[in-house]
Amino acid sequence: MRAAWTTTAASVRVIVAGVGYRNLRDHSVGVEVADRLETEAWPDGVVVEDLSYNPIAVIQRLEDEPADRRFQRAVVVAAVERSGRAAGTVAAYRWDGVLPVDEEIHRAVTEAVTGVIALDNTLVVTRHFGALPDEVVVVEVEPAVHEFGDTFSEVVGRQLETVCQLIRTYATSAEAVERLVRAPLGGVAQAGVRTS
C-alpha cells in the first residue's frame, strides 16, 4: 500500500528508473518495478521510467530535461548478480559515483551502443558523460534464475513489494537517502549496507 503523497513531499526532481530485460524472469525486476510504480500518483517532480535501453540513449533522454529542471536524484532498480549474496537479497545504497579506468568506460560505451543493457553499464556511461544526477540510489535484487519467462522465482517474487516500498521511500525522503551508506558499484556487501 503506497503512501498518499502531497505535492510538497519531494523537494527535488527525482527519476525512478528500472533497468533490465522483459521476459527474463528474475532479471526483469527493474522493468517490473518500473511498470508497477509508473501508474501510481507521485509528488510533483518524481518521474518513473523504464530506462532499459542503450545507455547512450539514456544520456540523451536525461539531457533532454530543461537545464533548470534536471533531475537531482536518481533511484535506480535492477536485478544484479553479485558474488556472495543469497538469491532474493535486496540491497540499497548510495552509489559513490567512482568510475573505473577509461579503458573500462570505453568498453562500457562499446557495450552500450551495441545493445548490452546492464545496471553497471548504464550507471558508468551516464555518469561519465555527466548526465546522471549527483545523488544516485541503487536498489539491487540478487536474482535466483536467469532464463526466459515472465514469472519470477519465488524468492525474488516475494521481494517485489519490498522493493517498491523502498523506492517510494528513497524517491521522496531525503532523510532516508541520507541514512544510506555510500558504496561502490558491486561493493554493497563490503560496505555493510542494508540488505533484507
Binding site: Y21, Y53, V109, T114, V116, H146, F148
Partner: protein, 635 residues
C-alpha cells in the same frame, strides 16, 4: 565463368545444371577449391613454437571494441614480424535457428531481431521477406519505399558508430602514440589535405579527436547515432527492435508530417558524409605515405559477396522465380566478386553457390552420413548442395577447443567453396561495377567507381567519388564504410522523394493483408543486408509452422574458421597477411595494434545469445543484447 570449383554449368538460356558424369558432385573430396591460401597445419605450428623462441602465441580474448563475443588466437613470428597462424573464435552460441523451429513464422520477425542489439531491424525485414516469398505476398509501393528508408536509417546509425567508436580509436593519437611514436610525430607535422571539409589542420589534430571518450569525432558519432535513431523511430516505433515490420510491408502510418520530420534528420547526414569521407581519405593516404607496408594490414583477396538491398517498387514481387530480375533493380546491386572481378549479379546464382560447413565448428554434421538431401534443387529447379542453408540442420555439439578439430561457434559459409567477405564496401563495389543502379540525380555507377552527389547543407553541394581500390585491406574497408554512409544517405533521399510522390498521389497504403497457409510446404528466403553487408534468412514452412530456419549474417562469413581444405576465413586470412609494424622489439610490450586494425576493419558483430546451458560442460558467458524499448515514439 561463374563457378570454377562447384561442378555447375549453364545451358544456352543461362539455366544452371550439374555437370554430367561427376559422382557425388558436392562431396568435399570431389570438389576442393583450387588456388586458395591455406593455413599451416596445427601440428606444424606446434613444432615451430617448440623449436623457435621468437615464435610466440598471441591471443586476444576477448577482442574489444567489437559487438558481441569474439576471441582471436594467433601465433606470431617476431623475427619476421608476421603472423603464421590465425584462428577466429566465436565464443557464443546463437541458437535462433533452434528457437525458431515449430513456431508461427510471424514470430521470426520479432525473435530473430534479437540476434543483434544494433541491427535488429535488418533481421526483422529479412524474416518478413522470407515469409513474403513463402506465402506469396507483395508489399505495396509505399511499403517498399518506407522499408528501404528505415533500413537506410539503421545503417546511418551503424556506420558512424563503427567508424568513430569501434574502429576509429585504432587510428587515434591515444593508440598510435604508444605503438608507433614516430608515426604520431609525423602526423603532428603533416597538414591534413582536406582540412577545409573536416576542420583539422594537421593529421595529429585529427588523430587527437579520434581518441575514445574525449575526442570530438567520438562524441560527434554518439550524437549522430541519435539523429539516425530519431528518424528511424518515426516509422519503426522503436529501435533497435522495430514493431512495424510485417510480411507485406510496414504497419506504420505515413503522413507528410512524418516524412518532413524524418527529412530534417536525414539531411544532417549529407554534410556529415562529406566530413566522414574526407577524414578517412586523409587517414588512409597518410598511413600509406608514411609506410607503404600499411597497405598489407588486413589485406586479403578481394573476394566478396553481397545480397544487394533496397528494392525498387516497380520490380520487387517477392517471388523466388524473379529474384534474379528484381535483385538487379535494387539500389545496391547484389553480386559476387572473385579476385576483384564481379562474377554474377544474379541472386539465383549467388544463392545456389552458398554452402555452410561445420568441420571446425561446435556442431554435428547433418549431411554425408546417408541422410536424404531435403531439397536437391531450389524452387526454380536450380541445383542445391546438401550443405546449402535450405538443407542445413543446426545440431549444436559443445566440446573442448582444439585448433585441429573444433574451435568456434561460427560455421563456415563458402561460395563456390571460396572464403568470401561481407561488408558495406561489398555493397559499394558491386553497385559501382555492375552499372545497374536505377536512374536518379544523386548516385552514378561508372563501372569503376560510384559518384555520389551530396546536396548542399552548411557545406556546399559536392560530388564525391568512391573508386574501386587497387589494394584490399583494413584501410580500404574503413574508407569504403565512410563512402557507404554517403551512398546510404542518398539511397534514403531517393526513396524519400519517391515516397513523397506516392503520398501526393494519395497512395498511403504501406502493407498488404496476408494469411499464413496451414497446408503444404513452402520455401522462402530473405535476401537483404545488414550495415555490415550480406544477410539471408532461409525458411521452410510446413503446415503453417517453421520447419527449418537458417540465418547467415555478414559476420558468419567474416568470422568463419578455416575450412576442411585449410582455407582460412576472412578475419584469419587478413590477419595472416598483416605485417607487425609496431615500433617495439619486445614481445611483452607488443599490443597487436595492426592485427586488431585488421580484425576491426570488418566491423565484427558476433551474433549474441540468450541462455545456453550445456550439459557437456562448456562454460559460456551469458549475454543479452537487445536494446529493447528505446525511443518508443508512443505512436
Amino acid at each position: 565463368m561463374c563457378f570454377k570449383n562447384l561442378p555447375i554449368e549453364f545451358d544456352a538460356q543461362g539455366k544452371p545444371f550439374l555437370r554430367a558424369g561427376v559422382a557425388n558432385p558436392y562431396a568435399p573430396t570431389t570438389t576442393a577449391p583450387r588456388g586458395v591460401p591455406a593455413q599451416l597445419s596445427a601440428d606444424k605450428v606446434e613444432e615451430l613454437l617448440r623449436r623457435n623462441g621468437y615464435i610466440k602465441d598471441l591471443d586476444f580474448d576477448p577482442v574489444t571494441r567489437v559487438a558481441g563475443a569474439l576471441a582471436f588466437h594467433t601465433v606470431a613470428d617476431f623475427n619476421a614480424r608476421k603472423v603464421i597462424e590465425a584462428r577466429s573464435v566465436a565464443t557464443l552460441f546463437r541458437g535462433y535457428e533452434v528457437i525458431m523451429v515449430g513456431r508461427d513464422p510471424r514470430d521470426a520477425i520479432f525473435i530473430t531481431s534479437r540476434a543483434c542489439g544494433v541491427c535488429g531491424g535488418v533481421h526483422s525485414v529479412t524474416s518478413a521477406m522470407a515469409i513474403e516469398m513463402a506465402i506469396d505476398c507483395v508489399p505495396p509501393p509505399l511499403g517498399i519505399l518506407i522499408r528501404n528508408i528505415a533500413l537506410a536509417l539503421e545503417f546511418l546509425y551503424d556506420h558512424p558508430l563503427h567508424l568513430h567508436l569501434l574502429a576509429g580509436p585504432d587510428y587515434s593519437s591515444a593508440m598510435v602514440g604508444p605503438t608507433n611514436p614516430s608515426l604520431l610525430a609525423r602526423a603532428r607535422s603533416t597538414e591534413a589535405p582536406r582540412a577545409e571539409l573536416h576542420g583539422f589542420r594537421t593529421m595529429g589534430e585529427l588523430m587527437d579527436d579520434l581518441n575514445p571518450l574525449s575526442g570530438k569525432l567520438y562524441l560527434e558519432a554518439l550524437h549522430m547515432t541519435r539523429v539516425a535513431r530519431e528518424a528511424y523511430v518515426l516509422i519503426c516505433g522503436k529501435y533497435p527492435h522495430p514493431q512495424t515490420i510485417v510480411p507485406g510491408g510496414m504497419s506504420s502510418t505515413i503522413t507528410l508530417s512524418v516524412m518532413n520530420e524524418m527529412f530534417t534528420r536525414l539531411a544532417q547526414f549529407f554534410d556529415y558524409s562529406k566530413k566522414l569521407t574526407a577524414i578517412w581519405d586523409d587517414l588512409t593516404e597518410f598511413f600509406y605515405t608514411a609506410n607503404p607496408a600499411y597497405k598489407q594490414v588486413g589485406s586479403r583477396r578481394a573476394h566478396m559477396i553481397d545480397t544487394g538491398i533496397f528494392d525498387h517498387p516497380d520490380a520487387y514481387d517477392a517471388t523466388y522465380a524473379n529474384a534474379g530480375a528484381w535483385g538487379e533493380r535494387r539500389w545496391a546491386t547484389p553480386g559476387v566478386i572473385v579476385d576483384g572481378e564481379l562474377v554474377t549479379t544474379d541472386l539465383h546464382r549467388l544463392n545456389i553457390g552458398v554452402e555452410e560447413f561445420v568441420d571446425h565448428s561446435y556442431y554435428e554434421e547433418w549431411s554425408g552420413n546417408g541422410q536424404r538431401q531435403r531439397f536437391p534443387t531450389d524452387p526454380a529447379g536450380n541445383p542445391l548442395s546438401p550443405y546449402h542453408p535450405w538443407n542445413k540442420v543446426t545440431k549444436p555439439r559443445p566440446q573442448g577447443q582444439s585448433w585441429k578439430e573444433k574451435y568456434t561457434w561460427d560455421t563456415t559459409p563458402r561460395w563456390d567453396r571460396q572464403s568470401m567477405e561481407a561488408g558495406a564496401y561489398a555493397r559499394l563495389w558491386n553497385t559501382a561495377v555492375a552499372r545497374k543502379v536505377p536512374a536518379n540525380p544523386f548516385i552514378e555507377s561508372t563501372g569503376t567507381s560510384l559518384k555520389l552527389r551530396l546536396p548542399k547543407g552548411a557545406l556546399p553541394e559536392m560530388e564525391i567519388e568512391w573508386k574501386v581500390p587497387e589494394v584490399w585491406n583494413a584501410f580500404e574497408r574503413n574508407r569504403g564504410r565512410a563512402y557507404c554512409t554517403a551512398f546510404t544517405a542518398l539511397v534514403a533521399l531517393n526513396n524519400w522523394m519517391a515516397a513523397m510522390d506516392r503520398l501526393k498521389l494519395g497512395d498511403t497504403r504501406t502493407s498488404t493483408p496476408f494469411e499464413i497457409p496451414k497446408r503444404g510446404e513452402q520455401l522462402g528466403v530473405g535476401f537483404w543486408g545488414a550495415g555490415r553487408g550480406y544477410l539471408t534468412h532461409h525458411l521452410v514452412l510446413d503446415r503453417g509452422a517453421v520447419a527449418n530456419y537458417q540465418i547467415v549474417t555478414p559476420s558468419t562469413w567474416n568470422a568463419s574458421p578455416s575450412d576442411r581444405w585449410r582455407q582460412p576465413g576472412p578475419y584469419e586470412e587478413a590477419v595472416l597477411n598483416t605485417p607487425l609494424l609496431e615500433e617495439t622489439d619486445d614481445p611483452k610490450q607488443f599490443k597487436g595494434i595492426d592485427i586488431l586494425r585488421a580484425i576491426r576493419s570488418f566491423d565484427p558483430c558476433m551474433p549474441c545469445t540468450t541462455h545456453i546451458h550445456s550439459d557437456a560442460g562448456v562454460i559460456t558467458r551469458e549475454v543479452n543484447t537487445c536494446a529493447c524499448g528505446v525511443d518508443d515514439d508512443g505512436g
